[in-house]
Amino acid sequence: MRFFAAFRIAFRALLRNKMRAVLTMLGVIFGVGADITTVSLGDGARVMVQQQIATMGENVMLIFAGDFRRGGVSFGSGSSSALTMEDVEAIRREVQGVRNVSPEVSTSRQIIAGGMNTSTSITGASPEYFAIRSWTLKDGAFFTDQDVTTAAKVAVIGATASKNLFEGGDAVGQVVRVSMGGSSGGGSIPFTIIGELNAKGASAGSFRDYDDCLIIPYTTAMKRLLNTTSLRGINLQTETMEVMPMVGTQLTNLLRQTHRISGGRPDDFTIRSQDELATAMSSTQETMQYLLGGVAIVSLLVGGIGIMNIMLVSVTERTREIGIRMALGARPRDVLLQFLIEAVTLSCTGGVLGIGLGMLASKILTQVKNWPTLTSPEAIMYSFAFSVIVGIFFGFYPARKAAQLDPIDALRYE
């Protein structure tokens, strides 16, 4: 029998029981929908992490205060005050293979210019920071070592912050007032903008907008804004990628020595290279994805069992039809094919609807929750293939049951 004819028969049989067909498909629809959504979320997050890592700069290593390796994975919340400028100086003096070093302190503040005000992230760093993080100038200049020495009230502004304050107008030369924060009674300090950065962009759906920033000399930040002597972290750029492990070892030895950490005691700092960060970030992603993927597989299985159940009912209901077809010359395998195609049609239609549902859900998550999602053609193909397999797998037993019927018994079936 021609394949096309078998498809037509299967479609007709399904159309006769539309409601039942739709209910049967629900399991597959939700299974595939969940699958597409989780994979989209995972892929979106992965791409975002890659972009973030890429915008970070080249051959970058970060040192945080506190030992994050022991406390599980967490970023940017170093509360221990183990890192100081002395560490930075020691690294400059003693570690081989380092091209640039910059301390980093950071805070988030309200900044005001003219009638506009915006909340932005403020980073205190040394001039090398721009090179390490691959920042380029759109206008003006970076601050200098001189500015660091004098704790000058100068700032380099990021594209987003500039847009928020000056709405596309010239930022360089303008004065912005940075609020002192709650604890110091709400005063503010004027900073002169001496440079504007090119946008890094690439942060659609990202956790943070890197261009929404104000970068000032670390001395100014520590003395005038934060009144602290401890650093949030140290940024390093190695000469090549190959020396990174060697630099890592040197850093550990040096910092353990300067921090007077003896023998078996753990580090009070954490060193991360760029690719370590990437792996750490994507491994959290992966755990999440496996979990959600598991949910998707379970619902697909449930969907498959639903299909099997309905196909078994269908075979029983249509025993007489099967008998007639066999009496007229249908071979067992024609009957098998007919019911298998029916099951696969059910699961595929469910799969296609599920893919639609998953893509819709991903879109909504991006729109409403601002989570990055990416629905790749591969994900769609795999989901579709999977629903075909579910149909074949769960449709086979009922189809075989139909094919093994004896024609005369099937004809006599009431």
Binding site: R2, I324, A327, L328, G329
Partner: protein
Amino acid sequence: MSQSTNSTAGEPVIRLKDVHKTYFTGELDVKAVQGVTIDIHKGEFVALMGASGSGKSTMMNILGCLDRVTKGDYLLDGIDVSELDRDELADIRNEKIGFVFQGFNLLARTSALENVELPMLYSRHKTYDDREEKATKALELVGLGNRLDHTPNRLSGGQQQRVAIARALVNDPALILADEPTGNLDSKTSIEIMGVFQKLNEQGITIVMVTHELDIAQYTKRNIVMRDGRVVTDKLVTNRLMAEEELQKLKVASEAIQMIPS
């Protein structure tokens, strides 16, 4: 040399040798057919008769390769059917036999045309590019050219029976087996159907049909009567009726009735 004698003498299309069929039901075994031996040759037109329960349908199911014998041999075109597997039996049913069931057995919610197309759908050795055309012709032959897209529930019993007949002959089978094909028809339509069978028979198709009606049996060439699963009478029809003449007579008679002044 035996080839030539066979072709002249005619190898029987159907050869039954001491065929038995017993239904093994729970308590009581029903011996529906008990030792039937008959030959039916190509071009024969046989009426199988007998009281209800005498085993006619059972015989037809065996002849149609739907059911297997309990004991004895059934040779179809010289082939021992008991040695064939399910696929080969399916192919024989599809290509060699057209079966008209006692209960029609049409597919519900499927148009007359598609019901008739079914056997062609499963044809393996012939491919039909003109399924619809052939099905339409078959339905026209049984007088249903104007009911092609009607589903069985929108057809009368007689019309359903004629769809079943169209379906049986659409594949150009060598053997037509019909279980009471005129059971639900009025006498005029019955004669028309017998006319169709006679025409097919003249083309060389072997026909075996079950009937209760003696006058319908007169349109065939040979009558076999069964009782309690055995053949009790097997005789050639002497005063054979021809459907065309009988229909002509009916027409004249009805015209005569109309001419009687009321």
